[in-house]
Amino acid sequence: MFEMRTVRQILIAAALLGQGCTPQPGEELLAPSVAQLRLRSVQSRTFDVHDRMLALRGVIAALQDLGFSVERAEEPLGLVTAARFAEPNFYDVVRVTVTVRPVTEGRILIRVTAIYNNKPIEDPKIYQNFFATVERSLFVSRN
């Protein structure tokens, strides 16, 4: 009888611990953290492009090259959203949002946020890969 009670206690404790994984919104939900600032710099890059439209078209071409299905493209806002399944893994979904904004004369800031199954991608290498593709696409379109 004693063992049964212990078993039950352990199971309840496990269930409670498991609940710990569910994020709870706290007061600091919208406050910027150091990690967020670092992620922002990883997700942003400026390019020497004069024409914002050219940069936007370059981003769309890069997304097509990466196999994304472009869902929305908004020219005045410089906003592009795209999604795809993470082939060959057909059960994982990747979504990206890209914003293209002029910072100074002749410099354009491109920021991308990528979500993998509702979880933000934080690996800097993946963002480097993305910007390498954008750079290549901008270079090709300029020639």
């Binding site: 404790a13 893994n89 290549r136």
Partner: protein, 198 residues
């Protein structure tokens, strides 16, 4: 016996705890271009000698309509179109495999389990993303790239005693060159221009 029970419960609890928190993460080489992306680009792209971007885009929309697509979004400034059509995804081959596997796994009943029922593809949505962009500084030559995808929804199934709920989904890019050739043949007919590749 009781002690073993406690250890087993603790192990199960630990396992449940770990699996609850671990999520799949993308590999490092994610978002890198592969030889496959270059090949995809080649079959999905054609050039047109024209300065009339609006005509090229509206002809593309008309061709998509002819092919049974519904144009869902269009942004003229960016030369962007998105279209989709929904169709049945039933294939007899899959139904035959489903029945054969079911018959072959009937002996599982002896092991207090149920025969396996593989979910089959039921419904599909074919989506197209089209972008027309100028490729020279004078904008007298345009490149049109279209990509077709299909999203497939599966029906329900049975694995052991666990039911597989309907609605499982997967997506793939359509890589059949014939489909793209057909599209571009229709498009060049519509704009009275010859499509060419580099």
């Amino acid at each position: 016996m009781g002690k073993r029970c406690v250890i087993l419960a603790a192990a199960l609890a630990l396992l449940a705890l770990c699996s609850g928190c671990v999520r799949p993460t993308p590999p490092e080489e994610f978002f890198q271009l592969t030889p496959q992306s270059v090949a995809d680009r080649a079959i999905q792209t054609r050039m047109f000698e024209t300065a009339d971007a609006t005509e090229l885009l509206s002809a593309s929309a008309a061709v998509l309509q002819d092919l049974g697509f519904e144009v869902e979004e269009g942004v003229r400034e960016l030369g962007f179109l998105r279209a989709a059509k929904e169709r049945s995804a039933r294939e007899y081959g899959q139904d035959i495999t489903r029945v054969v596997v079911w018959i072959l796994t009937i002996p599982l009943i002896m092991g207090n389990s149920l025969p396996v029922l593989i979910p089959v593809d039921l419904h599909q949505k074919i989506a197209a993303t089209l972008v027309a962009r100028p490729i020279n500084p004078d904008a007298t030559r345009y490149e049109v790239r279209i990509t077709f995808y299909r999203v497939v929804w599966k029906g329900e199934g049975l694995a052991g005693r666990d039911a597989i709920p309907p609605g499982g989904q997967w997506m793939e890019m359509i890589r059949e060159p014939k489909i793209y050739q057909q599209f571009f043949a229709k498009l060049s007919k519509a704009v009275f221009l010859e499509a060419f590749t580099l």
